[in-house]
């Protein structure tokens, strides 16, 4: 454990630990303004083995991008680019 000059251990407060272990939105890092329904490879990463959309808790997306993602996936399913179920 790291120590300060007074030989006291450095402790992190509870509120600060949340930011360290939180999963970040992968779309916000690259500042993507629009998710296209034709990018089948990127959409497949956010879907289950049974081709269901992953909830936001597991993928770490922000609300704005999760809504864009779900709309794009549903459009692609109509055009037979992605399956409804395996």
């Amino acid at each position: 454990m790291a120590k300060t000059a007074n030989n006291r251990p450095i402790t992190i407060k509870r509120d600060e630990t949340r930011n360290l272990f939180k999963k970040k939105c992968s779309f916000c890092e690259y500042k993507i303004p629009y998710i296209d329904y034709k990018n089948v490879t990127t959409l497949r990463d956010y879907m289950n083995y049974y081709s269901k959309i992953k909830p936001r808790y597991y993928s770490g997306n922000c609300l704005r991008h999760q809504k864009m993602l779900s709309k794009a996936v549903k459009k692609a399913r109509v055009m037979a680019l992605l399956p409804y179920c395996t």
Binding site: P33, Y34, D36, K75
Partner: protein, 181 residues
Amino acid sequence: MQEKTYELLLLIAPDKTEKQHNDLIESVKKHVEELSGKVVNEEIWGLRELAYRVNKHEQGFYVLMDLLMPGEAVKEFENFLRLEQAVLRHMISIPPHEYEPIPYDALKVEEEKLKKGKLTERFDASAKAKQQAVKKAKLEEVTVKEEAKPADEAKAEVKEEDISEALDAKLSKIIDDDMEI
């Protein structure tokens, strides 16, 4: 009405010859021009496997187009697409101004990588063999611990017997001493 840029994706039945495909696309373009619109971009994707069966077909012919037309004419255009027998699915959407779509050649390469890279890792025979080896190693660790335990218990039993014998000897001494007094 002002004119807007719309994006069209068409799914056409694959049972037809090249002439019939081209005739269909030209008839769609004529209908757009009748409704005072223009075709800006065109991209023909060609045959492609579908994710599920559509009208008992397992492959489809995709066509992408960009249109410039007023908003009132979109409904009539959709009615025309619905009545055509060869057109199975259609999707009209409004992309943002600054968005540049990815060309289809780049998409194909990424899809092939997906199929080769990830799927084979899941369903390979070598992956199964690795899992079984890991399981065997775990079982060996558990058996080694169990073999060590009975040896320790046997030592403990031997010690208890010695202790009990010593205690009996002491008891007898005490009783004899008391009797002597």
